[in-house]
Structures are given as C-alpha cells and as structure tokens.
Amino acid sequence: MIRKVSPHITQNEALLFEMSSPGKKGYQLPDLDVPEVDPGKALGKSAVRDEIEGFPEVSEVEVIRHFTRLSTWNYAIDLGMYPLGSCTMKYNPRINETVARTEGLAWAHPYQPEELSQGAMEVMAVLEAALAEITGMDAVTLQPAAGAHGEFTGILLIRAALEKTGKPRKKILCPDSAHGTNPATAQMVGYEVVNIKSNSLGMVDVATLAAAVDDDVAALMVTNPNTVGVFEQDIAQVAEILHAKGAMLYMDGANMNALVGISRPGDFGVDVMHLNLHKTFSTPHGGGGPGAGAVAMKKHLEPFAPFPRLARTPQDAWTWNYDRPDSIGRVRAFYGNFGVLVRALAYIMAHGGPGLRNATLDAILNANYIRKALEPYYELPYKSPCMHEVVFSDDRQAAKGIKTGDIAKRLIDYGFHPYTVSFPLIVHGALMIEPTETESKREIDLFIDAMKSIAQEVLDDPKMVLDAPHSTRCRRVDEVSAARRPVVRWKPPVQQSRAAD
C-alpha cells in the first residue's frame, strides 16, 4: 500500500517562449538620470544587434506563475527523503540562505580594497581552520568550485610536488569502484589512469595495490568510506605502500559525512583530499549546484596551493598573498564560491564540534538500520559492515526481469526520490542508498516499507514495477530518443518563424 503520497492536481505550463506576446513586460527601469546615448552612434551601427529573435516577452505575474508551476513538478529534500547514494542529500538549513544574503557579504566585490573586505576574508579563514581540524590536514584552499574541481586541484598539487622533485610520474591509480570524476580528473592533469580491482570485501586489495605501485605511479585516488559504503580497513597500510614508493594518497571526500568527528583522513595517511561542501556541509544542492570543493592538504603540498592565499599583515589584518612562486596557479577567477562557503560555515557553527560528531553517528545509524531491514529482500553484495550508505544489488529482482532502474522508478510512486542507480560499477545493478542523518525514523520506516512492498510486487505484479512511475504527471521519459536526435533548444514553430517569410 502506498502510504506516503496521494495524487493531486498540478498545473500544466507552456514554455516561456510560447506564452510571449510583443510588448508584455515584466520589468521597469528607473528613469535615466543622464542623457540617453544612441547605441548606433556610440558603438557603430554594425556593432548593434537587431532584436533578439524569439526572446520571451512576459509580465511579472506570468514569470512567478511559470516558475512556481514548474517547481511543483520537482521532488526536493524539503518534501521528503532523498536517499541518493554518494550525494549526501541532507537537510539544507534555511539559515544558510539568510546569512549568505548578508548585505556586506553578498555585495562584496572581489576587487574592493582589502580593508573593506576583512569580514569576507575572516569568514574564509575561519572556515579553512575548521575544515583543517575536521580533516586533520594542515592547510585548506577554498578556491575550487565543486568536488571534481577539487580533485583537479588536488591532483595538480600532487603533480606540482612531484615535478618539484624532478619527476611528475605518469600514472594515477583508481579503484574500479571510483566515481567517474576521478579518472576524468587524472586525465586532465596529464596522467594515465590505471584501474585497480577491488577485493571481495569491496575494498582496495593491499596485495594488488602493492603490485601496481611503481616509480611511475603518482598517486592513488581512493574514496573512503568507499563507494560501497565501507571503510577501507587497510587504509593506513595503503598509505604506507604509496609513501614508501614516493607516491601519494589522494582521498575523494564525497563520503566525508561518514567520518566527521570520528575519523580524520589526515590521521590515516591521506596527503590531499577534497570536500564537497554541498554534500557534507549542507549547502543546498540547488538542482545541480552551486557547490564548493575545498581541498585540504598536508604541509608538504601547501607551497603548491592555488594563489592567492590568505595571510596576515603585520597590522594583523587579512591580506591576499599572490607571491606564491610554486603555486599551481589559479583554478578559477577570484577566491572561490564564496556564497557557498558562508553557508558551510553557518552549518558548522550550528552543529559545533560535538554536534557534527552526533550527526555522523545518526547518518551511520540510519544506513545500518535500513541495511538490516532490507537485507532479507535485496541482495547485499558486500557483507562488510557499512558506514553512512548501503549498496544492494538487483540480483534477485533481475532474475524476474526487474532491474534496479525499474525499482527506482517504482519508488517514485511510493513518494520517494530513488536511490542512486547503477553506481558503483563494481556492483552489478546497484541500489546505492544514503539516507543521511536528517531523516526521521518515521520517514525511514516508510522507505523500508516501500522497498519491501516493491520487492513483493516484483514477485506478484512485475508489470506494475516495469511500467512505473504511474502517479507522476509525466510517465517514464524516453531518454534513448532524446540522445538519438538531440533537441536542446526551443525553436519557433516553422509556420510562425520569421526565417520562413
């Protein structure tokens, strides 16, 4: 029985372009207080464009209705559990949004004088210190814009340090369970990617690793807990093997929500890592960003960090230090996704040290509770104890012709966002479930019920699952034909097109 949702009407809506009519306006500008300049005269006639063909012309009320209606077609954390594994879809506190809009911060121009930017710089400095403490690392750069950007920065740091010793090396090792951004990043830094097979526990196999590490290996990129939700038991030894050969250990910190307050990468041998502030630190995901990918590093990598770096003046004020001869350079303009950084610090302040630890424990509690409840119904490919997420496979259901993707779609009918589908790749037909700490027992119990119920449907009524979702305004979407002949922009219907005149 579906207990969590009921069908209700939602408004249909055309595209903005389709509701446009010449002369409708959603704006008004103040009267010009200076003489109006003729664009043709100021810029030259040929430099001035004609009107923007097809561009929308709508009123303010149509704008608010348009986006409000569209919004009702989305699922969201504020509506319910969002157990996307690896994504840490936790509650996004609204205080984050409030403080990010603080006038002096939201309207700070990156080039305004440093003496008029001390507040913004202080926020960054405090956040850097907090993240260093949380990760057990020596220094942090806040410049990268997201996790993948952080990986890029981190691998650049490793390369720069190795180059400094005279040899950048050639290869980066990635476990076969790694997220796709890891190999893609390694490639962008000019490294060859070598995949390392995980062992039967889903972990890095020490022997396999030892065999793979040679003088050409720059680093191993490991995710810990890894993408099957398991803490790498041999992580200290892994680090030793690498370090012994002059290679480094990069940690993908996407799963840091399992560790904050209970374990620090800096203490188990990691040289450099990124954090996804939009995951672990609750800045909202926003339908796909903005994020921030802080990179934490050991002392030996700090000289290579992107410039500018925060520093203190003799007068004890903050200043930007551009004099960083060994720096890898900039990975983006200005100083980072500052607005996201403000949100992350607000989150850290709200929890405080002890609170952060409790959050981690609750995240682990939730994942293990789900694991326990669903183990009788879904195949658990790795039996190692899990941390903040649990990965099942669709083995049993696939036998009946139902894949993880079908179960995911059916979960929508039960009122939940699906888990992460088909990742990590080492689990065939993976169901990757990460509840996070911000789900109530009530919500989790409903999730478990839904998953059990679907398992039963697979046996009793497989078509119901195969054709899901049934209760959404839009039925299963054909992704295959979208890719076959991509239409990625609206065009005016041919009969109306001016081009056709």
Binding site: P35, G44, F67, E133, H285, A483
Partner: protein, 438 residues
C-alpha cells in the same frame, strides 16, 4: 540538535531492532588507528540568533553603503526581487541534479529554457546547462577546440580577463596545449590583429577573444573570425559582461562562446558562486562539456525533458569524458533564467542602453585612454590610481581598478565601470575627485 530529527528514545529503538548496544558500537568497524580519540576542536553549536549576528558583524566589516565603480568581470546590477523568490522555492533549492526525469521536470524544463535563451543571446545553435564560471568555461572551450580540430595550440588575447588567462594556463599546462598571448593596440584598446595574424599557424586550435574586452572595448569579431577560419582554427568568443549581449551584435561568427552570466541577477558575493556557459554550433554538440537537457516524450507521448548525451560525461566515459565537470551552477543558472524572463526582449535592450549611457556620461567627462567604442567600462588615465581611490573612499565611493595590478604597461590607468545602478550624483563626485571636466 535541531537538524537531527530523532529523540533518544527513537535512537534506542532503532539500535534495539538492529541488535546494537550503543551509538558508539556503530563505528566499531573503524580501525583503531583511524579513530579520532578526542572531540573536534570546534566550539559547541550556536543558535540561529548568534549565527545571524556573527555574519552580520562580518558583513559590517566589509564595504556597506558605498557606491562602486568596479567592474572588471563582476558587475553591480539590480537583482529583481523575483529571482530570490524563485530560487528560494524548496523544489528548486533542495533538489539534486535532475537525473530522475519524472520528478524533475521543473528543473529540466527551466534548463531547456535557459539553453534556448543562451542560444538566442549568443547567436549559437546549442548551449549547455552551465559551467562553474566564465574563467573555467574559457579553458573548457579551448579543450573543446583542441578535440575538434585535432590541433594543440591556443592563442589568447592579452585583453582577455587576466584571471581568466591565469586559469587557462593552469588548465592547459598538463594537457599538451601550449597557450600563447597576442597583444592589443595601444591606441584603440582592441586586439592587435596583425600580431594575431603573425602568430596563428596550422597547429592553432583556438583563438580566444573577449568582447567587450577587459578594457571595455568592443572588438570586431567578424574580422577575427575570418582570420581564424582562414587558418583552420576555431574562434572562441569570451564575455564577462552578459548585459552587453542585449545590445551588441551576437558573436554568430564564433565557433564557441564561453562566458560568465554574473550580470544576470547574481550578486557579486566576493567572487562567487557565478555561472559560466558554453555555447556552440550544432555540429560540435558532442564535444561540449557539462550537462545538456534535451526534449523528448514520455510513455504517454507527451513532451518531456531529460538530461541527454551523458555519454560525453565522466559517469559513463570516465577518463575519456569531455570534462570532469559534475556538480556546477544549476541554481545560479536558474537565477539568470528568471532574470532574463523578467527583463525579456525589450528590457534587456533598455537595460543595456542605460548601462551604455551611464558609462558614457562618465567616460565623456574622464576621457577614455583607448579610442575603441566601449560598453559600460572604459580605461581612464589617472596619474596615481591608488591615491585617487583613497580620496574616493573618503567620499563613500569605491573607485575603479588600478590597471597596473594586471598590466604593468598600464600603470597610471584605471578601469571604471558604470551600470544602471550608478547614480549621477555619485558619478559627478567621481568626475570631481578624478579631475574630469564636468
């Protein structure tokens, strides 16, 4: 703690179901060596009231109540109330990347509209859903050009935003992509097309030109495009001031457009989060990095949207992906979409004309150092920019950018920007302090 929706009773009940004794037992699996054996050295949790207070105090330590004439890649434009109203909707703010199309049509439809508007503005045929920012969009565009042409070299205008050039250098360094700069004409402020012509060769993949360029000057794109194409290279058109697209001829001759949308309702926010874009010709669609939304049908045959061509992306292609980019700037792109809907066809033009008019009011009285037409920024010759800016600060005005910081040859010059937010009274003060003719 207010973010944790569980009582102690409930935790105990859950532990009991699982046969676990205590919360601490949950982490028994951690190897001893990996365990943190002390509390984090971070102060205990604070109340909302204290957090608001803290950030207010930090905000007050920054420039509040100043008029500003800084541009240089980050512009002060009015943010319509509507933008925050929309991005604050839980359904947009707290959703993930729209992988599950059936419960993400809101975001998907909006991105499709965004892509369309970017195409309309830039004169391109396809556009992606966003990039981190303009500065990282430019190297991604160069990488695209390298993939498309099979060539390796990038020629970049010295008048491209200096920090963008720095980012390009970082990205290019280990990808076998030599980057070379070409100059600008000291009289006009436009690119030195002869210098470009001299450098371009059969290994040139991309020519990167910004317009309006870092000095505010409007470039002659057609000319550069012809030169580049004649040599088999692609033209990458970059922009930092998106409002200019409301008035200037779109760069339809370019092959790739890479730019920054900060001007579209995105607050300066000390440099981010902003939103970059890449737009290009249809034929290059499979080389575009980042997310793309496409139109399709649902099982009932109704129009629907979904993420598409993900075979370009790292989830599937891993080390062979077009880029490693994953999470980027969806919500910021939504802000821009709302902004463009509010202003619309006429509004964007009127806005651009106001910017043009304000900047020219100032420029006419300060005498731009370069002769090329400019949009809302220009370079003025000011003997001691630092001194002048200090004087302006005393009048509650943040002046222009001291160009000597990025261009040693332009010491004694200042980059000034005026937008629709610049009040005549403040401009008159600037003119007065900088010794312009009023």
């Amino acid at each position: 703690m207010r973010y944790l929706p569980k009582s102690t009773d409930e935790r105990n009940e859950m532990l009991a179901t699982m046969g676990v004794q205590s919360m601490d037992d949950l982490v028994a699996q951690l190897p001893n060596a990996a365990r943190l054996k002390r509390p984090l050295d971070i102060a205990p949790g604070k109340s909302e009231f204290e957090i608001v207070d803290y950030f207010r105090a930090r905000g007050n330590d920054c420039a509040t109540g100043y008029a500003s004439f800084l541009g240089a890649g980050v512009y002060n434009h009015y943010r319509p109330v509507m933008t925050d109203v929309i991005v604050s909707r839980s359904e947009f703010l707290t959703s993930y990347t729209p992988y599950q199309a059936e419960i993400s049509q809101g975001t998907l439809t909006q991105i499709f509209e965004f892509q369309t508007m970017v195409c309309q503005l830039t004169g391109m045929e396809v556009a992606n859903a966003s990039m981190y920012d303009g500065s990282s969009a430019v190297p991604e565009a160069a990488m695209m050009a390298v993939r498309i042409t099979g060539r390796s070299k990038t020629l970049v205008a010295r008048s491209l935003h200096p920090e963008y050039r720095e980012v390009l250098t970082t990205y290019a360094r280990h990808q076998g992509m030599p980057v070379e700069e070409f100059g600008y004409q000291p009289e006009t402020g436009r690119i030195d097309i002869d210098d470009l012509a001299a450098r371009i060769d059969s290994d040139t993949a991309a020519v990167i030109v910004q317009s309006p360029n870092f000095f505010g000057c409007v470039e002659r794109i057609q000319e550069v495009a012809e030169l580049a194409h004649r040599k088999g290279a692609l033209l990458v058109f970059a922009f930092t001031e998106a409002v200019s697209l409301g008035l200037l001829e779109p760069p339809s001759e370019a092959d790739i457009v890479a730019g920054e949308l900060q001007s579209f309702a995105i607050s300066p926010s000390y440099g981010g989060p902003f939103a970059g874009i890449i737009a290009t010709k249809e034929k290059f669609i499979r080389q575009i990095p980042g997310r793309l939304v496409g139109e399709t049908r649902d099982a009932n045959g109704n129009r629907a949207f979904c993420l598409t061509l993900s075979t370009r992306e790292q989830h599937i292609r891993r080390e062979k992906a077009t880029s490693n980019i994953c999470t980027n700037q969806a919500l910021i792109a939504l802000m821009a979409t709302v902004y463009l809907s509010v202003f619309g066809k006429e509004g964007l033009r009127e806005l651009a004309i106001q910017n043009l008019s304000k900047a020219h009011y100032l420029g006419d009285r300060l005498l731009p150092a370069f002769s090329a037409p400019y949009f809302n920024e220009f370079v003025a010759t000011i003997p001691d920019p630092a001194e002048a800016n200090r004087a302006l600060l005393g009048r509650k005005i943040v002046g222009g950018l001291d160009l000597g910081r990025f261009y040693p040859e332009l010491a004694g010059h200042m980059l000034l920007c005026a937008t629709e937010m610049s009040k005549k009274t403040d401009m008159d003060t600037v003119i007065d302090v900088l010794g312009g003719k009023s």
